[in-house]
């Protein structure tokens, strides 16, 4: 039987505010346990929450970025459940009237196809604390620094049909969040966490199958793996005559295993009701328009501009536009080197490879874009070859100076002196007489060998175009 996968996502995005959503405690990551948790965060008696204006502003900015309706009157509710890292016994969240209503996000797949993924809504809520289960004489340690950190939870419609679509959506959402600066998007620190609802159904069937929810995926790679594994599990289960149970699952990315956490039906009686401690949040058009005016260029618009202004292929434009910081770096590089395609190739190639190896974000790149642009300018004006440029790039990355300084200091300037190159060509011909006769006789594939040999004795510094020319001249002599 042909199966169709149906995927919907819930994404928790930590908002990059200075303080918590309902208290003036700091939200800075990495502090000593419980040093950033006050009476409100600990839910001591007599407390009253007060909403952080930046949390609201960032949620609204997100709504505008996904073309959503903004809830002009939204309110908070209590979602009741007991867990030690939730000291109030309820999470303050939104349900009936969220701040962000229906919107949509466009994704582009590898085959160039585009698809619109509908967003059901996004709501404001507070994060829980952290439970540490190891090493406390059989007890669990609780750190409430994270309790009360503002989040938006983004809920999609079940519009994705494959792991590829889900990952493309997740990446797009990540690039929107970082472009508008509402979150740092650091998934390794849990700043963005994905819950994936997955079901399968026979192709052509209207009705959805029973879904499972895989929680807290914190990398795109794990997300893809978890989806593929779960889809396979569900299909195998059904084909063997079994039934999918509605349950919450956990995926272990290091061990590549997944397991059921708890069955959903007994756990989901959250008894929501409006939070009596908080009044409705009322937003007017002036407020919403003022936030719209602060929105930077969004990834989709940037991608289109890169194609129109720089003549980049869509693939290059979308990769570069996905990260606002990378896009800026690229544009500054182009300004210096004057060749957009060359800059795009190097940003996506050598530069990205280096950043990945070093696990650095582009914002922490040790090479300023001006220097990077200068390096590319030296390729363009034939001072160095692309191959030598990689060597210079490494030296720049190691802090040895600017491109020009390194080229000068290491004597890497390309040899363009025709006489010098001709001398090297003659030397190689003399050393390989027999092959040269074959080349002359029409064995064209020996051309590469000769060019390679000349490049080798020039230590890569001969201009390959000139070497070619001179060789051809020698053949026809």
């Amino acid at each position: 039987m042909q199966w169709e996968t149906v995927i919907g996502l819930e994404i928790h995005v930590q908002l990059s505010t200075q303080t918590k959503i309902f208290s003036g405690s700091s939200t800075q990551f990495g502090a000593e346990p419980n040093t950033q948790a006050n009476e409100v965060d600990l839910a001591l008696p007599g407390i009253l929450p007060v909403v952080n204006e930046q949390a609201v502003a960032k949620a609204v900015a997100f709504g505008l970025a996904i073309d959503a309706e903004i809830g002009k009157k939204s309110f908070f509710e209590r979602k009741n459940y007991f867990y030690p890292d939730l000291p109030k016994g309820y999470q303050t969240t939104q349900l009936e009237a969220p701040v962000v209503g229906p919107g949509h996000v466009e994704i582009t797949l590898d085959n160039g196809e585009t698809k619109s993924i509908r967003i059901h809504h996004a709501h404001l809520e507070e994060d829980a604390g952290k439970s540490l289960h190891e090493d406390f004489h059989g007890m669990t340690g609780i750190d409430l620094n994270r309790a009360g950190t503002p989040l938006i939870e983004v809920v999609t419609e079940p519009d994705m049909r494959s792991a590829e679509e889900a990952v493309a959506f997740a990446k797009k959402l990540h690039s929107i969040v970082t472009a508008i600066g509402i979150g740092d998007g650091d998934m390794s620190q849990g700043s963005m966490r994905f819950d994936v609802n997955i079901s399968v159904r026979p192709k052509g069937q209207e009705e959805y199958g029973t879904r499972t929810e895989t929680k807290n995926l914190n990398s795109f790679k794990f997300m893809e793996e978890a989806i593929e594994m779960e889809v396979e599990r569900q299909i195998d289960l059904i084909e063997d005559g079994g039934k999918v149970r509605q349950e919450t699952r956990l995926y272990n990315g290091d061990k590549k295993t997944a397991r059921a956490m708890r069955s959903k039906e007994e756990a989901n009686d959250y008894r929501y009701f409006p939070c009596p401690d908080l009044l409705p949040i009322i937003l007017d058009d002036d407020y919403i328009e003022a936030i719209r005016a602060t929105l930077p260029e969004l990834p989709d618009a940037k991608e289109k501009r890169f194609m129109a202004d720089y003549g980049l292929p869509q693939y290059d434009a979308s990769v570069l536009a996905a990260s606002a910081a990378m896009a800026d770096y690229f544009e500054q590089t182009v300004k210096v080197c004057g060749d957009a395609k060359l800059a795009a190739n190097w940003c996506m190639g050598e530069l990205s490879k280096f950043l990945n190896q070093q696990e650095l974000d582009i914002s922490a790149c040790p090479i300023p874009p001006e220097n990077f642009g200068q390096l590319l300018a030296r390729i363009k004006d034939d001072t160095i070859s692309g191959k030598i440029a990689k060597q210079v790039f490494q030296a720049m990355a190691e802090g040895e100076g600017s491109a020009d300084e390194i080229i000068e200091a290491k004597g890497l300037k390309q040899v363009t002196d025709t006489g010098a190159i001709e001398a090297m060509v003659d030397e190689i011909i003399a050393a390989n007489q027999a092959q040269f006769e074959e080349l002359k006789g029409g064995k064209d594939k020996l051309m590469g060998f000769f060019v390679g040999q000349v490049m080798k004795i020039s230590k890569g510094q001969a201009n390959p175009g000139q070497v070619n020319q001179i060789l051809k001249k020698k053949i026809s002599e």
Binding site: S26, P33, A37, L42, V50, N52, E53, N80, F136, M139
Partner: protein
């Protein structure tokens, strides 16, 4: 609508309340009389009336995003039954 015994037990379980056998009839009666009142209210025609989120006719005031709190861990943990390395310790919970 009226509740049966097992519904009361499950509500108590969700609220982490322990109910003695002897108290059960009382809870059943009290809760059911509250639900009777709710039934009466449900019967009122509310067509066209906006649901009420809060009885006060006012909007939430927002707070500037400025850190106002300092580290008070020592005082705040003074009443905790068990702490270690700055963590609150609770009976082991693991899924």
């Amino acid at each position: 609508m009226s509740l049966d015994r097992s519904q009361v037990e499950s509500v108590a379980q969700l609220a982490r309340l322990k109910i003695d056998e002897a108290e059960m009839p009382d809870y059943l009666n009290s809760l059911n009389s509250i639900l009777d009142l709710v039934d009466k209210m449900q019967a009122v025609d509310t067509t066209g009336i906006e649901p009420l989120a809060n009885p006060l006719d006012a909007a939430q005031r927002l707070r500037a995003d400025v850190v106002t709190e300092t580290n008070k861990r020592e005082q705040l943990q003074a009443n905790a039954p068990a702490t270690e390395d700055g963590l609150f310790l609770v009976p082991k919970v693991i899924e």
